[in-house]
């Protein structure tokens, strides 16, 4: 999975817990364009599972999850979908 991509925007959510990790990630990605990549920095372990899952539920693409230290993860999401409409 050595896919190359350029990060468009980074949000540092260290210190944040669920569901605000996803709420803040979602607010960030809403303001981005299709194909752009959001990097989310997390230190709350449950969020490392929850945020990518929620992003996928909303149609976004999880590109990569890097663990950079014992308590720090970088999640990379590509915006594939605009807001859900019914």
């Amino acid at each position: 999975m050595a896919e190359e991509f350029v990060v468009t925007r980074t949000v540092d959510l260290k210190g944040q817990v669920c569901p605000y990790t996803f709420v803040r990630s979602k607010l960030a990605i809403e303001k981005m364009g299709l194909g752009e990549v959001l990097e989310i920095v997390l230190d709350h372990k449950p969020a490392v599972e929850n945020v990518p899952r929620s992003m996928e539920n909303e149609g976004q693409k999880v590109l990569k999850i890097d663990q950079t230290s014992e308590k720090e993860w970088h999640v990379f999401i590509r915006k594939d979908k605009e807001k859900v409409r019914k």
Binding site: P19, K26, L27, E30, N57, K83, R85, K86
Partner: protein
């Protein structure tokens, strides 16, 4: 817009919803909704719209809070007996949410003032308790093409219909003219189970929020009927009436009408 930290927390459960998100919340914050009446229906409508962050809420009411209101009119309270309902509702809603601005209109709606009052709002919510106002509001909304969320309650029952002028039936397509005076028991005589206004008002608020967000299926061309004793919800299809006197092909009502008040003459 950028949300404040408080707004991110306050609206987080909305933002989480795929159909709402931050974009939907911004729509709610910039929406303008006016309530006809701050009584049994208007109270919960305004309460939930304020909680939802609907940025501008108009309240049209010129009555004062009375003891007999408090069994159902949850925007008011015992300390506010004698206070104008519009002022009481403003206090309640703005205390719940500082993002909300409540504009009070302390007057009774007439054919002369209604258009001026409602013209600056996106959506009108009818929570009035009498037929003259109900028809006046319907006709004015048709003429100004305002979305109208109409409802009525009676004893243990309620009904709701959302009116999108030009794109579905209006209240007159359903009931062309008001019933003759004396046909219907006055509100004071009939009685109302307090919670019925809460259920029906909350359904109206739901229709308002859906309309602002542009999601779901509105009660357009459908009349929702609910009976508390049966605990039974039904919807009946309501077609547009081509011969409707106000929204039909050849409307005969071109001026607003002040029907004689025959119900709810409490003052």
């Amino acid at each position: 817009m950028e949300f404040t930290e408080d707004q991110i927390l306050r609206y987080s459960r909305h933002i989480l919803l795929p159909e709402v998100g931050g974009e939907g919340q911004e729509k709610l914050l910039s929406a303008r909704v006016v309530l006809v009446g701050a009584g049994g229906l208007g109270s919960p409508v305004g309460y939930y719209l304020a909680a939802a962050g609907v940025g501008t809420i108009g309240v049209i009411d010129n009555d004062r809070v009375e003891m007999s209101n408090l069994q159902r009119q949850i925007a008011h309270n015992t300390k506010r007996l004698g206070v104008l309902k519009a002022d009481s509702a403003k206090e309640t809603y703005e205390t719940l949410n500082h993002d909300v601005t409540v504009i009070t209109h302390k007057e009774r709606l007439t054919s002369q003032n209604i258009k001026d009052i409602i013209k600056d709002y996106d959506i009108v919510v009818d929570g009035s308790d009498n037929f003259p106002t109900r028809y006046l509001v319907n006709d004015a909304c048709v003429m100004l093409k305002k979305t109208l969320i109409s409802a009525a309650v009676f004893r243990f029952e309620g009904q709701v219909m959302s009116i999108y002028p030009g794109d579905g039936p209006c209240y007159r397509c359903l009931f062309e003219v008001p019933p003759p005076a004396g046909m219907v028991p006055s509100c004071q005589e009939a009685g109302i189970l307090g919670v019925v206004t809460g259920v029906i008002g909350t359904i109206q608020a739901t229709e308002v929020v859906k309309a602002i967000l542009g999601i779901g299926e509105p009660l357009k061309g459908r009349l929702l009927l609910w009976n508390a004793l049966d605990m039974d919800f039904r919807t009946v299809k309501v077609p547009r009436n081509r011969e409707c006197p106000v929204c039909g092909e050849k409307p005969t009502i071109k001026e607003l009408i002040d029907y004689e008040l025959f119900c709810s003459m409490s003052h």
